[in-house]
């Protein structure tokens, strides 16, 4: 295996690992900020004790997750230069700016105010302290914006021209207003709300059935978490739907690939199941709903959607000979997993909502709530396959239409070096994941939320 393949693998592992924590940071920072706002506006003395404990409880879960996100984020930033230095040379004029702005405008806010928040309970006024966590939430979500500006360029380049074999920025404003950013940003933002919300639901459900002392507060938190998650799920579905419609114009190959539509059709059917044959460039068998794909994209039963084989022909004419088809099978099933999980999360959250709003008294007898942690991997899987669709869907390009992934890898690396780092990073990631989860779980088990000081 060569340095290119290993570098791709290493980047994939790091990105997926990093993005286990990022959505929780995005969503949980806001949730903790909301809890603290509730706390500082609350009335009675007992109530305040309990709410402060609650803020610190979810704050601690947030911090464990945050630390994991931060340290893997540094790896991400270094990777571009370490493994993808030809990409960095080619794209630096465009890609470096949002990255530097992310550090300058977002990371500093996040890292500074999280420190103040952790240690500032007795040093700041309540309002100032609460403002700190809001600033952390703002910084986190702003950093997502910057990195998605950078990623959106790779998916759909705008405001650039090619000069001496390098892509150079001609209009920074166009980069920021790239319509692709909207889809990616809101989809990620709401995915963050959903993931964090579902995490809170899981923790609450588990505490309600296992921890009598803390039950009352977790029932009250669960109500809020259900509403928060529902907001996230609807947001993620809406933004995802609009983004897919937009892909028909901006990146038709990606759209056709995750629906395994090989030939241009009007109206195009939606495949529930497809036995994708990448080699022969067709589906060996499929189960179709006629009109459905066209309807989803065009909001009407009339409208053409370009197929993979037709797009391949077009790209050969534009970019010269080559294979421009991404991993159709992987994308087809990733998309179905993502959407399926979205639906499942909506269902589970809805049921939890019914239970907590209408059958609150019976919740403590619902032993099956103990099984909720088994469902917790779902949003994380959805996030990972979602990024698989986004990133695998632009292959063989690293920057669509401008640079191929093969041309982007650092030329000085040997496969031995990349093997070493790949194994090293992966081992450390696994080791830390185990410790972090262990720490979080045992913290959740032993921490009680009651009015006793």
């Amino acid at each position: 295996m060569d340095a290119l393949f290993l570098s791709r693998l290493q980047f994939a592992i790091t990105t997926v690992y990093h993005f286990l924590f990022v959505p929780v940071t995005l969503g949980l920072s806001i949730f903790v900020a909301l809890l603290e706002t509730w706390y500082i506006n609350s009335g009675s003395y007992e109530e305040r004790i309990k709410l402060k404990k609650l803020v610190k409880f979810f704050g601690t879960i947030f911090l464990i997750n945050f630390a994991m996100g931060v340290v893997t984020g540094i790896v991400q930033e270094f990777h571009f230069g370490m493994n993808w230095s030809e990409y960095s040379r080619f794209m630096g004029d465009i890609f470096g700016a949002p990255l530097a702005l992310e550090a300058l405008t977002a990371f500093f806010i996040e890292s500074t105010f999280i420190g103040v928040w952790i240690f500032g309970w007795d040093k700041l006024s309540e309002k100032m302290h609460c403002l700190c966590i809001w600033l952390v939430a703002f910084g986190s979500n702003l950093s997502a914006f910057w990195i998605l500006v950078a990623n959106s360029f790779m998916q759909h380049p705008v405001g650039y021209e090619i000069e001496n074999g390098r892509a150079v920025m001609t209009n920074f404003f166009e980069l920021l207003t790239n319509p692709y950013v909207l889809g990616e940003y809101f989809h990620s933002f709401f995915a963050g709300i959903t993931t964090a919300g579902f995490l809170v639901i899981t923790v609450c459900a588990w505490k309600i059935v296992t921890d009598e002392i803390s039950r009352e507060m977790f029932i009250r938190t669960l109500r809020r978490a259900v509403l928060y998650t529902l907001l996230g799920v609807f947001g993620v579905m809406g933004s995802g739907h609009l983004h897919a419609q937009y892909l028909a114009k901006a990146n038709p190959m990606k759209l056709a690939a995750f629906e395994a539509l090989w030939e241009t059709e009007n109206p195009a059917p939606f495949a529930i199941y497809a036995d994708v044959n990448q080699e022969m460039r067709r589906n060996d068998s499929e189960i179709l709903i006629p009109y459905m794909f066209t309807f989803m994209v065009h909001n009407s039963f009339e409208g053409e959607i370009k197929g993979i084989n037709n797009l391949q022909k077009e790209y050969m004419e534009t970019y010269g000979p080559g294979n421009y088809i991404p991993d159709v099978k992987g994308m087809f099933w990733s998309f179905r997993a993502m959407v399926g999980i979205g639906g499942l999360l909506l269902f589970v959250t809805f049921v939890m909502g019914m239970a907590v709003f209408f059958f609150e008294e019976k919740l403590k007898y619902c032993c099956f709530l103990k099984l909720m942690p088994l469902l917790l991997p779902l949003p994380f899987i959805a996030n990972s396959v979602g990024w698989y669709i986004a990133e695998a869907g632009r292959q063989p390009w690293i920057v669509v239409g401008l640079q191929k992934t093969v041309e982007a890898v650092s030329s000085n690396l040997t496969s031995g070096e990349v093997w070493l780092t790949l194994i090293g990073f992966t081992a450390v990631y696994l080791f830390l994941a185990v410790l972090a989860v262990f720490t979080a779980v045992s913290f959740i088990r032993r921490t009680k939320i009651s009015e006793e000081e």
Binding site: D93, G96, L99, A103, T105, T112, I118, T414, T439
Partner: protein, 334 residues
């Protein structure tokens, strides 16, 4: 003055900020070594609110290098591939350690993570020294800005000396920082004793580094550089005297100024180059052949002019908020 020079100055500023701020928290991290748990808790508490923001100075310096001088970023990070891998492992362990160590009330658990902090502070300090010396001394870089060597070509007596010098300088800087932040008399006494040794060791390492640089690099071809390094050596020795006399603030100011002058001196010696090619001087990366376009540099300049002062303002505020000395009793709380 053109945009390229402005950005060279800004990168220097960012690295200076990074070495000053993260310098003392690397130092504090290394000073955990061979200390009882209760003392380690106090040391960690002193940098608790700050280390993460300090680390962002490095990330910003990296990001700004990417934006302003992409070829420099690309060549530097791919050249130091294995070195950066080691540094990343160290930083990963360190960052997680600060967060997880307090989550169990077990001394074994804490000792394990404190080991990670020691390792995670020592390795980056050492490697930044090695890396900086390599930039200055020159590396086999071809006409396409590609590094032709491997990891072990980065290690030579000179570059390792530079690494040791960085480690000592940051450790001493950490000592002077702690002298301002700690209230526990036992630790203070120990720090003062250590400072007298660390000050001399740092001073000697610095002198050796300068002498070696004369032979290994062209640092001394610029008079300004020579003056800066000589002055830094002078400031460092005052820092040593202040530390011995127990004048903590003056001592910390001196180590801060020493680090600032050293960083500036190194960049002045490099100017207008960013990475020296040992094969042919013309193949060196400079602020012109590795830069972004004027459009990007202009945008980044505007952003830096607006945001760097804001960042400095709120970071300054955090140091004011946590200016009190650490009390030995509640240092474990968070």
């Amino acid at each position: 003055m053109d945009l390229n020079i402005i950005w060279f100055i800004l990168i220097t500023v960012l690295f200076t900020g990074f070495f000053i701020l993260e310098g003392f928290d690397y130092g504090v991290g290394m000073l955990l070594f061979n200390r009882p748990l209760n003392e380690r808790n106090q040391l960690i508490r002193s940098i608790g609110p700050h280390w993460d923001a300090n680390e962002v100075w490095m990330i910003t310096a990296g990001g700004a290098s990417f934006a302003a001088f992409p070829h420099f970023y690309a060549s530097m990070f791919s050249t130091f591939y294995i070195a950066l891998f080691l540094m990343l492992l160290a930083l990963i362990m360190r960052g997680v350690a600060f967060e997880l160590r307090g989550k169990f009330n077990s001394s074994d658990w804490k000792t394990f993570w404190d080991g990670a902090i020691i390792f995670g502070s020592f390795v980056p300090a050492l490697l930044w020294g090695v890396a900086t010396a390599n930039l200055l001394r020159g590396l086999p870089i071809d006409s396409e800005m590609h590094y032709l060597g491997g990891f072990f070509d980065l290690l030579s007596p000179y570059t390792i000396l530079a690494g040791v010098f960085f480690v000592l300088l940051f450790a001493f800087h950490g000592i002077t920082f702690l002298m301002m932040k700690i209230s526990d008399e036992r630790i203070l006494l120990d720090l003062r004793r250590k400072s007298s040794f660390a000050g001399i060791a740092t001073w000697v390492a610095y002198l050796l580094f300068i002498i070696a640089s004369v032979f290994e690099t062209d640092v001394m071809s610029k008079t300004v550089g020579v003056i800066i390094f000589a002055a830094a050596l002078g400031v460092l020795s005052s820092g040593w005297q202040f530390a011995r006399a127990g004048r903590q603030k003056s001592a910390f100011t001196c180590t801060t100024v020493t680090i600032a002058m050293t960083t500036v001196g190194l960049f002045v010696a490099l100017f207008p180059r960013l990475m020296v090619s040992s094969l042919t001087p013309e193949w060196s990366l400079t602020i012109y052949n590795s830069a972004s376009t004027p459009h990007t540099l202009t945008i980044m300049t505007v952003a830096a002019v607006i945001f760097v002062p804001i960042v400095l303002a709120y970071q300054f505020w955090t140091y004011k908020t946590f200016k009190e000395r650490i009390s030995p009793s509640n240092s474990d709380a968070h």
